[in-house]
Symmetry: C2
Subunit: 107 residues, 2 copies
């Protein structure tokens, strides 16, 4: 729940791109994430480490491959605690609705 790490992790376009890739297809390997990324594998690995440190992704090792999964919790946390602040007028109604949707929809 370290806001600073999350903001710093999101500050880099390459890392946001990695998140995008994982968003559209979750559970990719390091090598898969490298494809057409115009960056060395090691550079990507570093970015992934930063994202994982910020808890924006998690990973599982299966044999010699490592799968990467996006984690929406910190990003939603920031949206909740920080960004929505700037639309306080709507916050109450919005979070009430969200809660209702979550309660109703499960997860």
């Amino acid at each position: 729940m370290n806001d600073d790490a999350v903001f710093k992790a999101l500050a880099d376009a390459s890392r946001r791109q990695l998140l995008d890739r994982l968003y559209e297809r979750n559970g990719l390997t390091l090598n898969a994430l490298c494809e057409d990324l115009d960056m060395s594998r090691q550079a990507v690995a570093k970015h992934l480490a930063i994202l994982e440190e910020a808890n924006l992704i998690s990973s599982e090792k299966h044999g010699r491959v490592k799968l990467h999964f996006i984690n929406a919790v910190p990003i939603n946390g920031i949206a909740e605690r920080w960004i929505n602040k700037f639309e306080r007028r709507h916050l109450n109604a919005l979070s009430a609705l969200k809660k209702a949707l979550e309660d109703e929809g499960g997860q």
Copy 2:
């Protein structure tokens, strides 16, 4: 509307703190923003320049003082375009409600 500039601007804790100060009291001068910030005036000025570059604040010069105003638009833009992506399940309902509230409440 440059996402990258906004993310980069938000990546620094001092800058987020400055936005916090402007959020709780808008229209502060540079010197006012410096108070108990344990940083030189010039450092603060640089941060403000970065925030202004990212369109997160605007400023007006009145005589020899310069007033700084927070601008929620880019932050809401990011929340809309990027962050809500990670809660797509709710997006439709949420944005519909937002729109309704805005139409109803005026700006």
